[in-house]
Symmetry: D2
């Protein structure tokens, strides 16, 4: 029988290390977890160039600093809309160039990484893939910041061990995201485990975001859940916004209109300020994405 | 076979009625659900006269307007401390007389009602008894305000139907309390379903409190969960405070020290103010308990 | 502060004691947990004399040895049918006299005990009341055999501690009943935790029944769940049968017709025999209920 | 915006189709779901050639007809043993050649498919990957029989839609496997949802296996859960067996010794026979794996 040893990871940060509060640098002028509240917004899926750009401008105007938008969509049914793929990536790149917003986009499989890392600033790993170890490993090796969502029935301990996969493969830039867990309650799509925010903040140095859109699954709950998340200490919010939720190809019932997102930001800003975590705003100047990892990349200073 | 008809309830408010936002009047100068934030605090169980009075004064000084304290304790094991019973009721009455704080106390069984309603201002029905229909019916008939906790695996729909038992038996003074639900997560004692607050506020006219002590089961989580509850729109908080949590006869790990409760109130007050729901303060003058129901009691004007 | 001590229980059996396999004697000729499989069947609620007697004769003919039938029904909504009360108790007594079947009937509140213990052979404490400690205590003191159902979100540990309440108050005649737990799955009313059967059999000396009717909530699942329960080692089954499930006042969707119950018994009998736990049959002669407890009642030899 | 249409799937069987009971042919002389009970056994992970061969012979001698053994192991922690990889595949091939047992082996990622499909007869997709749509799609396209495990918090509906991904990509050879779901209960690793067996058998034509090892997570529960599964109508069992569970590199606490597996088979055989689903035995002659899919493969006649 062969010699079996865990890979050496002596020099790697651990999710459960708390030596310092480590922010994740996304671009020259954008960092998550540095004490400000990062608001990320955009459509569930990129459905076209015009809708994406309109949404990007609307959420930027309201105060979002990053744009989300799905290109490859994991869907429970094989007959649901599964994203526009490569074509949508070009739309994201164009929206990035036109607005300066940094881009968050989900990766479903390691084979999609090469195409994505040329365009996106943050790779999202979704709840269904939280224990897709091949993907976690590849995301660890590529070095691009990773927004890791909690699995729908993952304990906090399992969530941290999933983050550990990324860290153990050399990528310290992990952002955690609570997005609701599966319970018996049916009034909401999932149950937002708001206590996960302070628990994660205690047990790890990683930034912690909350996705109130998937947690509640209802547009009318996005505002109160956002406020609760900020009050509980979240480092940011990930919110679905669509020009016309009624016709969205996915997640319409939980997507906000532009007006609703404006209202939400008007409520979130003073709360975030009061909580000592003001909403992050963009600094001027051309944004540069953080240099890609070339092997020995250290953690951000 | 006999004639089977549901009891007539034509004149009774329904939990799911939303005709008006109905506050529950507790005393001449204390109302829950009128737009202010009601803070209720005190020990899990009344353990003695001195500890109760010290705690009452400490929480009152920090801004609590009502005192909680268990007399009959439902305990998972028959060998755990189950409360001091009638003796503790006298201690509660004394604390009420000395501090003017209104009293919340749990009733476990209809047979305890006569003794309790002479002393307490609000009857608490605990999570384990949320579907104890004999108790709900008796609490409905007695007319005293009822603080009804959500069962640990009750859906929001079942919670409202339990409230309906109290309402249908003639008592409109029901206050709902979210206290965490049972899930697979083990980092916390229960999972605070913070979304239940806005959902309940939408589906019913009843005031909605949150118990962050039982929800998290950890003293270090009481503050962030309290803030989250207030931000999500709760009408009040129910918090366990003990002079020396390490020696508490029950719920020590989730009880706050006086200092921790002071700190919590210092954080809650500005947040509650910002959220348009300032912490309720006592008005001057002798408090009179609301007149007990005598049959035709209308809802509070 | 007063002296606080757990009640002395030195001479009381514990649920977790495993010194011997203790069967619970119900009548002179009926014992549960003695190695045979006890089948209990009948309507959810007693709806009338004729329907009860017809059902009693049908289930007896198919092989059931005890009759179930609710008199006071715990219902989630106060506007649902809640049982015929005292009138139904007389119908149960008549059915008992006419068929010789022993009677299982739910008690919802300690105040109902005096009326019930004159008629029934086994007191059922339902899932909603598993932690109604006043009721558990009263059931412990009355000495009548208790069929205790697992709470819908009770752990096995909590289930055993609830049984301990009955035992600690002097009543060793406790029969446990797994009836499904609450999970996220919606295809079934509850999720039958079939593993609870062998776990309970390992951790306690008490008999363990399974209620496949409430576990699945679907008539079409009663047969496979019954077979699974027997194969897993259950000491008995508790099954809802109704002359016309489509018109039942409660639990119609999970009630079996007489024919379906016949078919079930035809499948259960050979399986139970193969598993070394043949279906119990009544011995001849007049049945006498076991003498009621008069203080010093020993456990069955 | 591009034209968005679900892929045409007119000619594809659906998981929810019930036109016929479709068995999945594995080799010339081995079919799953044809009315017999298929027993698959072996170690959690292939740890070496000798241990694998010993185990293969032991389980074959006791009546298993297929060998399981992990090569790539999904592990919650990145520091746990993750399988021997390609080397273990050779050991599986050798065990197959020496014993004639067909091989079930987990695939964690589409990139592992080419190596696996040369060796294994059935590809297992694990609970963590039940919604890894890239993998499901690739498994659908490769045509090799797929044993799909239910996700740990997947509803039965989601489970069937995951199967639909494989079917919709042209592979009708899907075998479902219930392996326990995540609940609040901590006495067992997961909660075996035994009702899922009859529900799945009603809603789909696919064979349904049960994995009692992962469901309970305890060696002492494998026997009762196996018996319950057979009684509930399962088409087969997937059981972990190890020469020395105490030293197993993974899943030791739930692995059976050879003797315990012998005892289990001695109990399963008569029960399966009684249930009209006798344990499948190998027919004589050289086994040929089923021809690999070359595009137009029809379903087995």
């Amino acid at each position: 029988m062969p010699d079996i040893q865990p890979a050496s990871n002596a020099s790697c940060p651990r999710a459960t290390s708390r030596e310092r509060n480590t922010a994740v640098r996304i671009t020259d002028c954008l960092t998550i977890g540095d004490g400000d509240l990062t608001v990320i917004a955009g459509p569930c899926a990129v459905e076209g160039h015009a809708m994406l750009l309109r949404t990007a401008r609307a959420v930027q105007s309201a105060g979002a600093i990053m744009l989300r938008g799905g290109v490859f969509k994991p869907r429970t049914s094989p007959y649901s809309f599964r994203g526009l793929g490569a074509e949508a990536l070009e739309m994201l790149a164009a929206a990035r160039a036109e607005t300066g917003l940094a881009i968050v986009c989900e990766v479903m499989d390691a084979s999609q990484l090469p195409a994505l890392i040329d365009v996106v600033d943050v790779l999202q790993i979704g709840a269904r893939n939280m224990q897709n170890y091949t993907l976690l490993t590849a995301a660890g090796e590529c070095g691009v910041p990773v927004l890791l969502k909690r699995g729908m029935s993952a304990t906090i301990g399992e969530f941290l061990l999933a983050a550990e996969y990324v860290l153990a493969h050399g990528n310290p830039n992990v952002i955690l995201c609570e997005r609701g867990i599966r319970t018996f309650e049916t009034a909401t799509r999932n149950t937002l485990d708001v206590a996960a925010v302070p628990v994660l903040k205690k047990e790890t140095y990683l930034p912690v975001l909350v996705d109130p859109s998937h947690a509640g699954g209802r547009a009318d709950l996005v505002l109160p859940l956002s406020l609760a998340a900020v009050a509980a200490g979240a480092d940011g919010l990930l919110i679905e916004v669509h020009p016309d939720p009624a016709t969205a190809l996915s997640d319409g019932p939980q997507s906000l209109t532009f007006d609703a997102f404006d209202d939400l930001m008007a409520r979130v800003k003073p709360l975030a300020y009061l909580c000592g975590r003001p909403v992050a705003t963009a600094t001027r100047g051309q944004r540069q994405r953080r240099p890609r990892r070339t092997g020995a990349t250290a953690m951000p200073a």
